[in-house]
Symmetry: C2
Subunit: 232 residues, 2 copies
Amino acid sequence: MSTVRGARERARIEVTAAIKDEARRMLAAEGAAKLSLRAVARELGMVSSALYRYFPSRDELLTALIVDAYDSVGAAAERADADVLAVGGAPRARWTAVCAAVRAWALEHPHEYSLIYGSPVPGYSAPMDTVAPASRVANVLIGILRTAHAGRGLALPPLPAALRPEALRMTADFAEGLPPEVTAALVAAWAHLVGLISFELFGQFNRVVEDRDAFFAHAAGQLAHAVGLPVV
Amino acid sequence: MSTVRGARERARIEVTAAIKDEARRMLAAEGAAKLSLRAVARELGMVSSALYRYFPSRDELLTALIVDAYDSVGAAAERADADVLAVGGAPRARWTAVCAAVRAWALEHPHEYSLIYGSPVPGYSAPMDTVAPASRVANVLIGILRTAHAGRGLALPPLPAALRPEALRMTADFAEGLPPEVTAALVAAWAHLVGLISFELFGQFNRVVEDRDAFFAHAAGQLAHAVGLPVV
DNA sequence: TGTACATCAGTGAACGCGCGTTCACTGATGTAC
DNA sequence: TGTACATCAGTGAACGCGCGTTCACTGATGTAC
C-alpha cells in the first residue's frame, strides 16, 4: 500500500521512461521507419537485448510512443481549451484556440504527428490500447460544440436524407446530444484540420502557401463556421 | 529520325517498365519503406546489380514511382472532369466528379497515394522533377473554378485583411484570373479533400465513419460550397 | 556483304552494414523465515 | 538482525536475415568501314 517504491521498481520506471525518451528523440531525428531497438540501446549505453526486459518487441515500443503522442496532443488541446475557458471565451474562441494548439503541437513534434496522423507504419497494426487516447482531441471539440449547442445553438442546414442515418449513428456512438448535422460537420472539420496540418508538415504547401500562420488562422475560422459556430 | 527502334532500345524501354511495374506491385503489397531493389530484381529473375543499368539508385526508382503516381491520379482527375464536361455538366458536377475520382483512385492505389500524400519517406527528398506532375489535380480544379467564375460567377465573402496579400500572391503564382478569395478557398478545399481521403485510408475513420460513400459524397458537396460553386 | 571494334545489358561474387530476437550467464536487489 | 533462496536487470555472444552498392567479367547487339 505504500507509495514508497523499492529501488528496483523506481529504477524500472526511470529506465522505461529513458527508453521512451530516447526513442522519441530518434523518432524526431529519423522518423518511425528508422526507429530501431538496437540504436536506442546503443544511445543509452545498454546492450540491445536488455531492452527486452522493458518492451517485449519493437512494436510494443512503437505502441507506447503512439499512445504517448495521442496523449500529448490531447493534453495540448485540453490545455488550450481550458485557458480560453478560464477567461470566459466563447465557443468559437475555444474552437480556434484548440485548432491552433493542435497545429502548434504538430509543428513542434512533426515525427510524432506523422506517427499518429501520417501513413501507417508498414507491418505495424495499432492495438486497441490506442483507441481511447486517439479520441482526446476530438472529445475536446465535441465538448465545445455541446456547450455551444446548449447555449445559443448551432445553425446548420439539415442533412441530405442519404446521410441522416449515418449521422444519427455517429451521434449516438460518440457525440450524444449534438444535432446529427453538427456531428457530421464535426467529423468533416476534424479531417479538414488534419489535412491542413499534414499539407503544411509534409511539404504539400511548399511553393504554394507562404504565409502559413495567416492562412491557417483563416482556415480555422472557416472550420468554426462549418460546424455552425456563430461569429460572435 | 526513324521511330523504329533497335532491339536494344526497345528492350530497355520494356525492362524499365517491367521494373517500375514490379516496384509498384511491391509498393502495393508492402509500402514504400519496404521497397527494395533486391526484392524487385529477385521477382524479375534478375540479379540485383542489373537494376543499376536502369536506375542509378533506389531513390531514383522511388522518384520515378512518385512521378508516375502523380501522373496517374492527375490523369484520373482529368478524365473524370472531361467525362462530365462531355455531357454538358455544370462546374459543380465537374467538381464533385473530380473529388470522387481522386478518392476512387486513392482507394484503388492506397500505397501510391501514401507515397505522394502520406508522410514523407524517411531519408528521401523529392527532386524538382516531381513539382509539375504534382499539380495536375489542382490544375483541374482551378480550371473548373475559372469556368465557373467566367460564367455565373463565384459568390464568396471578402477575405480578412490579414490574408489578402497572401491570397493575391497565390493567385498570381498559380491561379491567374480567379478572385483571391476563391484561390484561398481552393487551397483549403484541396487540403480538406486530401484530409478526408487520408483519414479514410489511414484508418482514422475506423469505428467512426461507417457509410463512407455517403459521408464522402456529402463532404464533396460541402467542398463545392466552400469554394463558392452554386448548387444549380 | 563481311569484318573489326565499340557499346552496353546482365552476371556473380563480394563489401560492409544494421536489424530483431534468443539464450545461457552473472550479480545485485528483494523476501521469507 | 542474519541467513537462504527467489527474483530480475543487464551482459555478451550468436543466429539468420536483408539491404544498397561496387566491380571485374562475359557475351550479345550495334556501328563504321
